[in-house]
């Protein structure tokens, strides 16, 4: 197998194909601290892309409650169990990726979920890790905790669905790194379903081939962020392009969040896929769990996030989340305002670093009435 460099694990690793990075790479940063699991993203994706026959069970975007939720059921627990307990505490991951841990005769370590695993997309919703003792007080990190994990296809640099397909029906677009599944070429073998550790390829039992998140490519081609991003009422997402690890631009908000401030971390980097959906870890959750999920540097990321007000560039990037439906290619912070620009340098949005505060008198002299807050 060829060797490719995966910056998320700090080393070269095996992958079925030569490592050719796309010209641009689709990426999303999601702030788990702000997600309330309203599922608006899930519904936006569902109504846009998967209301058809055979797609009834499909959620290309879903939000699950951690630690117990999972769609399909226990997807992360099952693959982690197969991979074994690995040390994630160093900048270089020395354990095996799912390609390196593949059993004899397989391309990647994996499994095919059963029907039942897909049938309960929100089992474990809002379930906490346990109950609090009478009279106990919460400290940070919380003794009992849960958080919401929104998920889409990671449009991985080293996509396991792509590597697992014996027909090369899955391809990565050179222009934006979006991973697509050719609906005409696929023969429904489900090697991709087995090979994707995130379980983000889905078999359509009516059309008899597999389908997956298309990264809203018609929107991306027109400079617009994905449906799940622009409909997010919590403004937890920022979608754009991540630079190659050796071509980082500080004025790209995604680069700043991922490479410069390192506040956004990949999901299960130990799988070895170099996924391109990044998460700001929930700061109330014990780092031990989060290190397993987001890899090395989680505690530093949590600390950086807590102190975001001290880094105006970081704060500026965070404030651009959900501020415009257009893709922000460049940003800057000027006079307490974060400004986002499109690829042509056109200004897209201005967001104040600090929202202006207006204080209304409790009594309205003109109408001789007491004001009540009805919102």
């Amino acid at each position: 197998m060829p060797k490719v460099y995966n910056w998320q694990i700090g080393r070269e690793m095996e992958f079925p194909y030569e490592g050719v990075r796309p010209k641009r790479q689709f990426a999303i940063v999601m702030d788990t601290n702000k997600c309330i699991a309203c599922q608006t993203c899930t519904v936006a994706c569902k109504t846009t892309w998967t209301p058809g026959r055979g797609q009834e069970y499909m959620f290309w975007n879903n939000v699950e409650t951690k630690p117990y939720g999972g769609y399909p059921l226990g997807w992360d627990v099952r693959i982690l169990e197969k991979l074994g307990v690995r040390d994630m505490t160093g900048p270089v991951y020395e354990g095996k990726t799912i390609f390196e841990a593949a059993p004899d005769g397989e391309i990647a370590l994996g499994y095919i979920p059963e029907d039942e695993d897909w049938a309960f997309p929100n089992v474990g919703e809002d379930e906490c890790t346990g109950s609090m003792e009478q009279g106990a007080l919460y400290t940070m990190p919380h003794m009992q905790w849960m958080f919401y994990l929104p998920r889409i296809c990671n449009h991985c640099t080293y996509a396991s669905c792509l590597g697992s397909c014996p027909r090369q029906s899955i391809y990565k677009r050179p222009e934006d790194g979006i991973v697509l599944l050719d609906q005409h070429r696929c023969r429904g073998y489900r090697e991709c379903v087995k090979g994707c550790p995130f379980k983000k390829t889905h078999f359509n039992p009516i059309t008899r081939v597999s389908e997956k998140c298309i990264g809203c490519y018609p929107a991306i081609e027109n400079g617009r962020q994905t449906q799940c991003t622009i409909t997010c009422i919590g403004k937890i997402r920022l979608q754009g392009f991540i630079s190659k690890p050796d071509e980082v631009r500080e004025d790209n908000p995604l680069d700043y969040l991922i490479f410069v401030s390192k506040v956004a971390k990949p999901l299960y980097p130990q799988f070895g896929l170099e996924g391109n959906v990044y998460y700001i870890p929930p700061i109330h959750v014990p780092p031990r769990y989060l290190t397993q999920m987001f890899g090395y540097g989680v505690e530093e990321a949590m600390e950086t996030y807590r102190r975001a007000t001290e880094d105006r560039k970081l704060l500026g990037a965070l404030l651009l989340f959900g501020s415009t439906p257009e893709i922000i290619e460049r940003y800057e912070v000027q006079n307490d305002t974060a400004i986002g620009y499109n690829k042509d340098g056109g200004e897209l949005v201005r967001v104040p670093i600090r929202e202006p505060i207006h204080i209304r008198a409790a009594y309205d002299e003109q109408y001789e009435a007491h004001r009540t807050n009805i919102t």
Binding site: P51, G105, E106, P166, R167, P205, I206
Partner: protein, 292 residues
């Protein structure tokens, strides 16, 4: 020349078998002898496609036992074959060849759900019976093969109609589908592989796909479908007939005219064991002779 090449090749194979431990060296193994002779497609009366698995004429054709091995050459592999043997008989009527394949399979797997796979069987012919023998593993570049593949879910579609979601999942909940509120053109975007006429989504008019391959991963459904067939599952056994014209009609049809000495290879997928794609049991080239 081709015939003598084959004879030498198969004689070599037979020697190998004889040298293997457990094979008596004194007298030729009858199984090896039969394998060397291969399958004989006997001439029968009639015209057109040969479709009836229960017809009496199959008794006129000698039964050939095809020994199957798990596919362990390329990843993903099949560690253990669920089907180890199939019985092959061949006939032709001067226009069409018919091959009847019969194998034991306890489960009739002809419904596709997210984790369920269908039973299948395929026969492979070299396109050119006189050229160098293509790789038995789906041909190789410059040496294409014709793969005619019968699919149990296609057979069920044709016999009982294509399933809707409630056939597959009786408790499915559905509000509304795009095709119930949009015009055909607008709703097409939501039809996935069906909307782009993926040939494996539904059968055309036959449960058999007429295909060409030039090596691993290159299997392609031909634009014009000539092959046909019919499969019946009964009491733990599939009996499947695959039929196609003897003479080439479209580009890259195999030449199977009467009198030809060619080869056939086989593959079986036991859907209930999760066999699909490369995870199959197969037999390499078996000589196939079509009587005049």
């Amino acid at each position: 020349m081709n015939k003598s090449f084959h004879r030498r090749a198969w004689a070599g194979f037979a020697v190998l078998l004889v040298l293997m431990p457990g094979c008596p060296a004194e007298r030729p193994d009858p199984a090896v002898e039969r394998e060397r002779e291969g399958i004989e497609a006997v001439r029968i009366e009639g015209t057109g496609a040969i479709l009836d698995p229960a017809a009496g004429f199959w008794n006129e054709a000698p039964a050939f036992s095809v020994q199957l091995q798990p596919q362990v050459v390329v990843d993903p592999r099949l560690p253990e074959a669920a089907v180890g043997e199939l019985e092959a008989r061949a006939v032709h009527n001067g226009e069409w060849i018919g091959m009847r394949l019969r194998w034991a399979d306890e489960t009739r797997d002809d419904v596709l759900r997210t984790a369920d796979f269908g039973d299948q069987v395929a026969v492979q012919f070299p396109i050119d019976p006189h050229g160098p023998l293509p790789s038995a593993m789906m041909g190789h570049e410059g040496a294409p093969v014709n793969v005619v593949q019968w699919r149990a879910p296609f057979q069920r579609d044709l016999d009982e109609g294509a399933p809707d979601i409630f056939d597959l999942y009786p408790y499915a909940l559905v509000d509304i589908y795009p095709d119930e509120v949009l015009g055909v053109i607008d709703a097409r975007a939501y039809t996935g592989a069906l909307g782009v006429d993926n040939p494996i989504s539904r059968p055309y008019e036959s449960p058999v796909l007429d295909q060409i391959a030039e090596g691993w991963g290159s299997l392609t459904v031909k634009p014009i479908q000539l092959a046909d067939g019919r499969g019946v599952w009964n009491d733990g056994e599939w009996t499947v007939v695959i039929t196609r014209p003897l003479f080439p009609i479209t580009p890259n049809d195999p030449d199977l005219r009467p009198g030809t000495a060619t080869n056939a290879a086989f593959a079986v997928w036991e859907g209930g064991s999760g066999e699909t794609g490369a995870r199959k049991s197969w037999a390499l080239w078996v000589p196939l002779r079509l009587t005049e």
